[in-house]
């Protein structure tokens, strides 16, 4: 019999409703799995034993009284530790927030609780979501369940590793430049970034406000839909929230791709992509063509500058977003002779080197005399990228590419060279710049046995189309492999 920890959300939801097992059973299975994997993976920063137990009991009693709160009722969920949880330590993997207990739940978290989800724990991330490997955590790196010598990707590496390893059935992360999709690709699971504004950012500790978006990490495309259905939709507490009705994500899941135009973005395929990854992606594209899609080669010339523009806009926003961590009201406080000294010592000691690097970059990009050349120019590039995407979507219904140029890399490989780390996100950043949805679907393993991710991008609010193509990719790839190394001997 399948270990309950290996179930999909959809499968577990059916089992719970059929009375085959309880939410408490499911929670126990996940605890058992976490006990086996955590020493290796360090996916979690904290596990909320008591809260999860209460939620599971509550979900079971709701089932007993025939109350159906939705597909995540009774399902163990992992939350990236930049999602604010009332009374549950929320650190952003930073020393500066060690011990911080938020007095409120973010909107996505509230919707999960209202939907009966069992919040199992808070997962590791690159500090303040700045990174692509989860190595920039003040509490130590997470590791890849497929090979603990390798990174799980990042910044939502903890949630990705947990879902891949079975220490959660579904995880949530945030994606600012690929932080959901890239770790999903590296861990062999599905990760999606919704249209900007579809999921409320209220209660997501901001990295770069105009780019951040909460999204799910799941084992299947259908689970991704189920998770998005719970957290998505208008929230008056977030002024950038999309005010209209959410689209019907499920509508096309079974429809196949016949008649659809699939655009292959020349700038995101081929050059700079690991040949094994590209071969897997090409095979997938051929499969879509066989299934009746027409393949369109097209170019988005301005996305060559997306990475550079991103590394001005995101740091600029973060330099202001992270200014509030000053030791005055919460988190770490170092003593100083003056207020200024207290603030600067607190910040110097509380933030890690990558966070400091980006704050400095952003402060510089916004400085008098440099604003127009850096931040202003980056915003103009962003407009061009949006226009390029709009033009591309006149020729194609969806766009495809690899999610990450490589499969999971070794721990420590890129930590000394920030630029090589930044290049991990070259395929994912354009969708953050345009605000459009994108999803990574696992399509197979490379020669080293590491998962390859395939990215499907769609225009704003084009989630139904995106899920429809992703579901076809998933069916064709038939990716069933499970990460198994996680439970073997402890890596030291």
């Amino acid at each position: 019999m399948t270990d309950l920890a290996d179930l999909t959300v959809t499968g577990a939801a059916a089992g719970l409703r059929a009375g085959e097992f309880s939410s408490v059973d499911l929670l126990e299975a996940v605890h058992r799995r976490a006990a086996m994997t955590e020493a290796n993976l360090h996916a979690y920063l904290s596990i909320d034993r008591d809260g999860a137990a209460r939620a599971a009991v509550g979900a079971d009693s709701a089932f007993k009284s025939n109350t159906d709160l939705g597909l995540l009722q009774g399902i163990p969920v992992a939350l990236k530790d930049n999602m604010v949880t009332r009374g549950l330590e929320t650190t952003c993997s930073s020393k500066i927030l060690a011990g911080y207990l938020p007095p409120y739940d973010g909107t996505a978290v509230s919707r999960l609780r209202e939907g009966g989800a069992v919040i199992f724990g808070k997962t590791n991330l690159d500090e303040f979501a700045m990174g692509s490997s989860t190595e920039n955590s003040a509490y130590g790196p997470s590791r890849n369940p497929w090979d603990p010598e390798r990174v799980p990707g990042g910044s939502s590496g903890g949630s990705a590793a947990a879902v891949a390893a079975g220490s959660a059935l579904v995880g949530f992360g945030s994606d600012t430049g690929g932080s959901i999709r890239q770790p999903a690709a590296l861990c062999g699971i599905v990760g999606m970034k919704p249209t900007y504004g579809l999921v409320s950012r209220y209660g997501l500790i901001a990295f770069a406000s105009s780019l951040d978006q909460i999204g799910p990490l799941t084992r299947t495309v259908e689970d991704s839909v189920a998770a998005l259905e719970v957290v998505g939709g208008y929230d008056p507490a977030d002024s950038t929230s999309y005010p209209g009705d959410v689209p019907d994500y499920r509508a096309g899941l079974e429809s196949g791709v016949a008649g659809l135009r699939v655009g292959v973005v020349s700038e995101l395929n081929g050059e700079g992509i690991d040949p094994e990854v590209q071969a897997g992606v090409d095979q997938c594209i051929a499969g879509l063509e066989q299934a009746g899609a027409s393949i369109v080669e097209l170019s988005l010339p301005s996305i060559e500058y997306a990475l550079s523009a991103y590394y001005l806009i995101a740091p600029a926003e973060c330099s202001a977003n992270l200014a509030r961590f000053d030791g005055v009201r919460y988190g770490l406080r170092r003593r100083g002779e003056t207020v200024e000294e207290m603030m600067s010592t607190t910040r110097a000691d509380g933030f890690g080197p990558e966070v400091i690097r980006r704050i400095l970059l952003g402060t510089y990009a916004l400085s008098a005399g440099y604003y127009d050349a850096f931040y202003g120019q980056a915003q103009r590039v962003r407009t061009l990228i949006i226009q390029d995407f709009q033009a591309a979507y006149e020729q194609a219904d969806v766009l495809v590419s690899p999610t990450s140029p490589t499969t999971a890399f070794q721990l420590g490989d890129r930590t000394q060279d920030p630029l090589s780390m930044y290049l991990s996100d070259v395929c994912t950043i354009p969708s953050n710049m345009s605000g459009d949805p994108a999803i990574s679907v696992p399509i197979g393993l490379d020669g080293a046995g590491l998962p390859i991710g395939f990215q499907v991008m769609a225009p704003a609010l084009g989630e139904p189309l995106m899920f429809r193509v992703a579901a076809e990719v998933e069916r064709q790839a038939g990716f069933e492999a499970r990460a198994t190394h996680a439970t073997s001997e402890v890596v030291t």
Binding site: M83, V84, T90, C92, L97, Y100, P102, P103, Y104, G106, R201, Y202, G203, L204, I205, A206, A208, S209, S210, P236, A237, D238, S239, T240, A316, E317, S319, A320, A323, R324, F325, D326, V328, R329, Y330, V339, E340, M343, T363, L366, S367, A368, Y371, Y375
Partner: protein
Amino acid sequence: MTYEPVIGIETHVELTTESKMFCGCAVGFGAPPNTNVCPVCLGLPGALPVVNGRAVEFAMAIGLALNCSIAHQSVFSRKNYFYPDMPKNYQISQYDEPLCIGGYLDVQTGSETRRIGITRVHMEEDTGKSIHVGEGGRISAASHSLIDFNRAGVPLMEVVSEPDIRSAEEARAFVAELRGAVLRLGVSDAKLEEGSMRFDANVSLRPKGTEPFGTKVEVKNMNSLRSLQRALEHEIDRQAALLEAGDSVLQETRHWDEAAGTTLGMRSKEEAFDYRYFPEPDLVPVEVDDAWRDRVGEAIPELPAQARARYLEMGLDPTAAGLISRDVAFGAVFEDAVAAGGVSQTVANWLTGEVTALLRRSETPLASSPIDGAALAELSGMVDAGRLSASAAKDVLAGVVAGEGNPAEVARARDLVQVSDIAALEPIIDEVLAGNEEAVGKLRRGDDKVIGFLIGQVMRASGGKADPAVVRGIIKDRVS
């Protein structure tokens, strides 16, 4: 050389909306510290701002009252600097795309009216308040500081004037006029002492008759109209003395010291902050369509300048028109009194003279005193009809303010109704004439000046109730 001052004023006004600029917390003065707070106005991690539409309407009303055009789209920006009572270490403000642009305010000094340009009106949020615990409440001597975030996030509006003001007196009149408009709109209590209205002035001098601006100095910390005028007079003199001596003015911020009566340098602009403004990504632009703007515009009441013009047409002198138009309650009582038949200038004189003095003594605002339009009309009617002398009328007014009843009732109760009945007056007059033979003699010889003395004696003998005009007539009859 004669120098001409060039002055521009930036005024901050706290808006009296029910809730804060970007969250639902209550706005109010005097609540226990840190009780009107939430994750948003405390700048807790993950919290996001949402624009208070009412605050936009208030700011729009001020913009329209100042003859500004309202931007169809305006943008909030982040103004970045570290300060412990500013929760996010950036202030959400408006920068290059403010809500209201390009208006003016007509300002009266003496009999002259000048048009002062308004560059812009924009919205922003207030900071918290630091309380330094220790000697003198100063940060340097404090053992520690406490922060009250009740004020953090309170809606603020900033009105920036063009450098059109040419004297300290005009600066004072500008702020007074602006304050009157804000009060009339009901968008702020505009209390200078409590800081719900605050202003900074940019001052420079140039040789009279020349165009280019001199080096400007920003003067801060003036918390009354009087201190604004004093500070600017001092600063103008200081700069004139520097220029006269061949020195140059340093571009800097200077702090007005009310007790010492001087301005002191705070920091020079060379080390000024770089605020690194950029558009606030947590908010979308504020969209104002014509219909919304027009709805706000139609709800704007008559403003002081308009009321003043109308009062001048009604025949009031400029001083009275200015005083009455600046205060909502005075304007209402004045208009009621005139509508009830009071003579406008007489009523105005009562209001700006005796009524103001009495209310100041009893520390009662006009609105909560028993003085109303009907009472004033009645009082001025009694004086005009000769039933009250001017001095008795003051007593009657005091009685009305003390709540003794309407003017007729007070006059009767205090036995102040003027006696103009000849039969009643003749015996008193005869007695006075008999007792002042010397004066009567002078009068007979044509020395008309002594008649005043005789009338005064009659007034005293009658307890102030005699109608002096009638008395004068009888004396003249008797003596001729």
